[in-house]
Symmetry: none
């Protein structure tokens, strides 16, 4: 399909805070990815201030150059939020009280025991001539305008509200409204191996891909998404073709590195939960440099109480001793960041919680605390089963504190996966 | 100073990966902040694909609407990087070999033991009629064009190269070239109170603001940033004026809710660390529904080992008992999400770690686990000092699991702040 025929969208993000750099605009990246997944090209991303003339100018241009315009931001109850009034004027309609939304907001505020102030009431004043889309995770409704075959959608600027509105309503409605071509995406997720090494391993598959199937490498904090995207008219045939290439990659990368074949939304921590549930097993954590981030990831999955006992954030050496029974002499002799200490930590966690599996980490997250033998980024990770099986490995990272912690968290989960699957 | 008189810039970020959401554009936020600090307004941020017509169209618009245009991206050695050729054609000049840059690149590659391939040599082909700015941390030079009193600067897309080029050369050169006005930003951060209630409390200050000083509400996960922005010619006078309004807001909101007056980069967890360091005190955590997220926030601050002992993620009731000495009968009688249990948890954490302060949380993060008396979003937070002073409070949230956890984390830190400051 040529570009001329492809549906085009323009994304407009509204907010002074974006222009002066106090907020990094992450909504655009999310929207760009979601649109491309359903075969809609993004012509341009424009960020403008909360000013009527700026919004109008960007909107005019966007409507000229594309079929779809997605706006975020400027819908709040405060004086600087003017998107709604601007759109009503632009599309020559009035702001009227939307009874259904008013009732929603009233219930929402009541549930939280908050007063129904005038500023909150104003959220239910919405353009008459548009389709109002209810916001299930916030108080600012979205608006869907259709004019001359083009669609303009205005959403609030809060990222999780944008995500919920898109997934629940706007993407399905876009697919329904426009005749989008068939695009088949298939995602394989890997962990525990760098992007360049993965690329070398699957080179034969990649070079054999036909022109209408593309492969994207999408690394994030140690987890690598490999996304195959095929475009065509025969949806069923395309599905089979994409799946065939995906299976070839899967056969090379699984079981050691690839953990998801097809379900793009499945997180590594959710996969770990499934492995444990299948085995009716439980787990625990013992964390030093990650400070609770591994446990927090496990708990981010609903229902994790079925397999997660809990964890110890033994940041001080004293707590490593009192809560995890790490020997003070071992810390003295080998240092807190050592194979000996993480080994005692991981068995301490199993002993303390009664879990079947545990993971323990100790490292130098930085920026301070490094030495010649153990520079910033040195991390020891131990994983173990209550039977006594244990695997400990040293990793050498070298980034900022935040990135070192995020990488360590995923590496720890990757190693725990190997432990559960008996791959180490 | 009216807006018409303010220097205006447009930022253009170039790259297919931005439009399809594979890369979050962080350069724009950096450039926006740096420009606003030297009093240059950002008219618009535009992201376009690596396509000649798209770049030319954005550039034409940008030059029409602003005095300064900053471009990033598309300067690499691969085929899809076409910014340089596009600019040379647009400004009617030729790409010629720049001897000085060639020598720089040669030395750069030699130092890293990499070969001088043709693609690398092409990096020294630069427009004849422009000022070439050397890149000290990479191989793509920047280009400074001046046409009809306007300045267009093209930089590579790698964020740390953009930062180095801006700080070392481009910002000083912009200040030298233009007579920049003064813009003063001042941020106050609050926690523990919703945006609409804060707005009501400071309404008198907000309505008294003169036209050249604006107030923005920037909420994120329970923490609210209030940003005052003033523009004028008399920098010292303006500073005083903005500070005066900021102090009026501070006086209303501090100490209970406002915790930062001026330092926009200071996080709540960093502030907690400072309060503890001032008192030479330590803290610990006992977490159930947040699963380690509070501890992880504390540990995200470099140097937190000076005041953070560690924590217990007592996800299971058994671990609440064995690690925090919570009475099993109490859990039986009142449930895990109760004032009685968090009270025992918080003192259990102090007892276990020897910390001066502790914070404990237990709640129903959702989506399951709710009941009529304790629906999803019910959270109990207890904070205590080792002397026996304790404060426990019930909160009612009602969002998704991830947001409930994020909000609870910040509310727990807010309550810990009250505890340390003896405001409860």
């Amino acid at each position: 399909m040529s570009e001329q025929q492809q549906l085009q969208a323009t994304i407009i993000t509204i907010g002074d805070e974006i222009l002066i750099g106090q907020t990094v605009d992450t909504n655009s990246a999310f929207l760009g990815e979601e649109l491309s997944v359903i075969g809609i090209g993004v012509r341009e991303i424009i960020s403008v201030a909360d000013q009527r003339d700026r919004i109008v100018s960007a909107l005019g241009r966007a409507m000229q150059q594309s079929d779809i315009v997605l706006l975020t931001g400027g819908l709040g109850p405060t004086k600087d939020d003017i998107t709604k009034a601007t759109l009503a004027a632009y599309f020559d309609t009035e702001l009227v009280l939307n009874e259904a939304i008013y009732a929603e907001i009233e219930a929402y505020m009541k549930k939280r025991g908050r007063p129904m102030m005038d500023s909150v009431k104003s959220l239910a004043m919405l353009p008459e001539d548009c389709t109002v889309i209810r916001n299930h995770v916030g108080t600012c409704a979205a608006m869907w305008f259709e004019r001359a075959g083009k669609v303009v959608v205005s959403m609030p600027g809060v990222p999780h509200e944008v995500k919920d509105l898109m997934n629940r309503n706007i993407l399905p409605k876009l697919k329904e409204t426009f005749d989008t071509p068939s695009i088949i995406h298939h995602t394989i997720k890997c962990v525990g191996l760098g992007e360049t090494i993965v690329a070398a391993k699957i080179e034969s598959v990649e070079s054999a891909l036909p022109a209408h199937i593309k492969l994207a490498y999408l690394p994030s904090k140690g987890v690598l998404r490999l996304r195959l995207s095929g475009m065509g008219t025969d949806e069923e045939g395309l599905k089979g073709e994409v799946k065939d290439y995906a299976d070839q990659i899967w056969d090379i990368m699984h079981p050691k590195y690839a953990f998801v074949n097809g379900d793009a939304n499945k997180q590594l921590e959710e996969h770990i939960g499934e492995l444990l549930l299948e085995r009716e097993a439980t787990m625990a954590t013992a964390e030093s440099c990650t400070g609770g981030a591994i446990a927090a990831k496990i708990v981010s999955i609903a229902g994790s109480s079925r397999y997660f006992e809990g964890g110890i954030v033994s940041y001080s050496n004293a707590l490593k001793h009192t809560a995890l029974s790490v020997d003070m002499d071992t810390i003295e002799e080998f240092g807190a960041v050592s194979e000996e200490v993480v080994t005692q930590m991981v068995f301490g966690a199993i002993g303390r919680t009664g879990a079947d599996y545990a993971v323990a980490v100790s490292g130098v997250a930085g920026p301070g605390g490094g030495s010649k033998e153990k520079p910033v980024g040195t991390v020891w990770i131990a994983t173990a089963h209550k039977s006594g099986r244990i695997f400990a490995k040293r990793y050498q990272l070298a980034r900022t504190r935040a990135i070192n912690i995020a990488l360590t968290t995923n590496l720890a989960l990757a190693q725990l996966r190997w432990q559960i699957l008996e791959l180490v």
